[in-house]
């Protein structure tokens, strides 16, 4: 399969990419790793007239802690994240997710920024970003924007990014003592999109009371979904098996899956129930041991 014709442009800097996008208009699309966009172009689901290649822009590939934040450059590849020592030691939720995302060769190309900016609820990073309460930094014609993750995902392939905006950085609150996260998805085969996935991040105080909790769901709604009702049940409480069972039930009720080739609606609700319970337990264990 060969994509429809387009004109290729390579940007050497963020400002050059933005001005190219301004000049070329709405028919221009940015490409970073290209492993979401190019398959869609080959299937002619997407037929952009212009591709602006942003993958060669210097300085957008990094993972570092600064002040109270973990900062990840948008062009950091999934492979770079997978092998990063800081993420392995302090943020194991990333390893959980990346291990299950596509396969090693695809991860050599795919970037964290692209995975989020694509706006697909089937991707793994959006649910994870909801759980850890990330902030998205984007550059646009009017300067830099700071977008809380809860305002980022607008619809099917639609995000808060406006024409010309480039996602440049992901910021996440730095790992605290007594905090931990976990992610798992059920997939039909290795490398598939999630049949359903659940990301959990828990912060406890010294008495084991849940101070903050984030629960994000993958591929069981049109827009990456936060399990608000479940979070409210746990916040401010000591997390018990009974509460975990209650939240797992809420997750299976509040998710909005549709029957498709990956399974029936009822099957997906059942999966969400099970992995919410497992991920709450796993995140809790990590938080208690951290």
């Amino acid at each position: 399969m060969i994509p429809a014709n387009f004109t290729y442009h390579r940007a050497a800097s963020v400002s050059e990419a933005i001005s190219l996008s301004q000049e070329l208009g709405e028919e221009a699309k940015y490409m970073s790793g290209g492993h979401s966009l190019l398959p869609m172009m080959k299937l002619r689901f997407a037929t952009p007239e212009h591709i602006i290649d942003i993958s060669k822009i210097d300085g957008l590939s990094y993972i570092k802690e600064e002040g109270d934040l973990l900062k990840i450059g948008a062009l950091t590849t999934q492979t770079e994240m997978e092998h990063n020592k800081l993420l392995k030691e302090q943020y194991p939720i990333f390893g959980d997710a990346i291990w299950l995302t596509a396969d090693p060769s695809v991860r050599n190309c795919g970037t964290i920024g692209g995975n989020i900016a694509h706006g697909d609820a089937a991707n793994d990073q959006p649910a994870l970003m909801l759980a850890v309460r990330a902030t998205i930094i984007a550059a646009g014609a009017d300067g830099e924007k700071t977008i809380p993750i809860d305002e980022f995902f607008h619809g099917f392939y639609m995000t808060a990014l406006e024409a010309g905006d480039i996602l440049t950085e992901i910021q996440i609150p730095k790992a605290k003592k007594n905090s931990g996260g976990a992610y798992h998805k059920v997939e039909r085969k290795v490398g598939d999109y999630a049949t359903a996935g659940v990301a959990v991040h828990i912060e406890l105080d010294d008495d084991g009371i849940c101070q903050q909790i984030g629960i994000g769901l993958t591929n069981v709604s049109a827009v990456p979904m936060r399990l608000e009702r479940g979070e409210e049940v746990l916040r401010g409480k000591k997390i018990t098996d009974e509460l975990i069972a209650e939240v797992s039930q809420i997750a299976s009720e509040d998710c909005e899956p549709e029957s498709d080739l990956r399974g029936s609606e009822a099957y997906k609700r059942s999966i969400v129930h099970t992995i919410t319970k497992r991920m709450l337990n796993k995140a809790l264990e990590r938080a208690r041991n951290n």
């Binding site: 399969m1 014709n5 390579r10 290209g34 398959p39 080959k42 090693p104 060769s105 695809v106 290795v190």
Partner: protein, 155 residues
């Protein structure tokens, strides 16, 4: 770009996929087209040392890149340790997936010279084989890992 150590210059359509450039423009047909949807890994090559599925990569994006295909991994008249191991361990049956398996395994062994069986299975999870059931492929990668470690120790 550089392919297998040789410099190549060409003007191509922006939509030309890298696998088509390699097979049709350069006549290097060892790189196969399988699923054409970045699932099967038959088209795997090394791009700046990393395994990449060339069916899902635009040729124009590889401008200036250093590319290695299955044709470029062994010196004339010899086998790369992975090629020899696939031969010794019957790591192939029809052979269609083999170039991709080997290119992927080069990247795997570079980052993890002594992988466990499980790490090998996950490491080649983006490469599909429909004949062997993978067992002999895993054995091949294990043999090659040992050989390559011996080689690097003797240097």
């Amino acid at each position: 770009m550089t392919i297998n150590g040789e410099s190549v210059t060409a003007e191509v359509d922006s939509r030309l996929l890298l696998v088509h450039f390699i097979r049709e423009n350069l006549d290097l047909t060892g790189t196969h087209i399988g699923c054409d949807t970045s699932n099967c890994g038959a088209c795997t090559i090394l791009l700046d040392g990393k395994s990449v599925k060339s069916c899902t990569y635009l040729t124009v994006r590889a401008d200036g890149a250093d590319i290695t295909t299955i044709e470029g991994i062994a010196a004339e008249g010899t086998n790369h340790p992975l090629q020899q191991a696939f031969h010794d361990q019957h790591g192939l049956h029809c052979g269609f997936c083999t170039p991709g398996m080997i290119m992927r395994s080069i990247d795997l062994l570079k980052n993890n010279p002594n992988p466990t069986e499980e790490e090998i299975r996950w490491g080649i999870s983006g490469n599909l084989c429909r004949c062997t059931g993978y067992n002999n492929i895993v054995k091949s990668v294990q043999q090659a890992a040992q050989e390559m470690q011996k080689e690097s120790e003797s240097v």
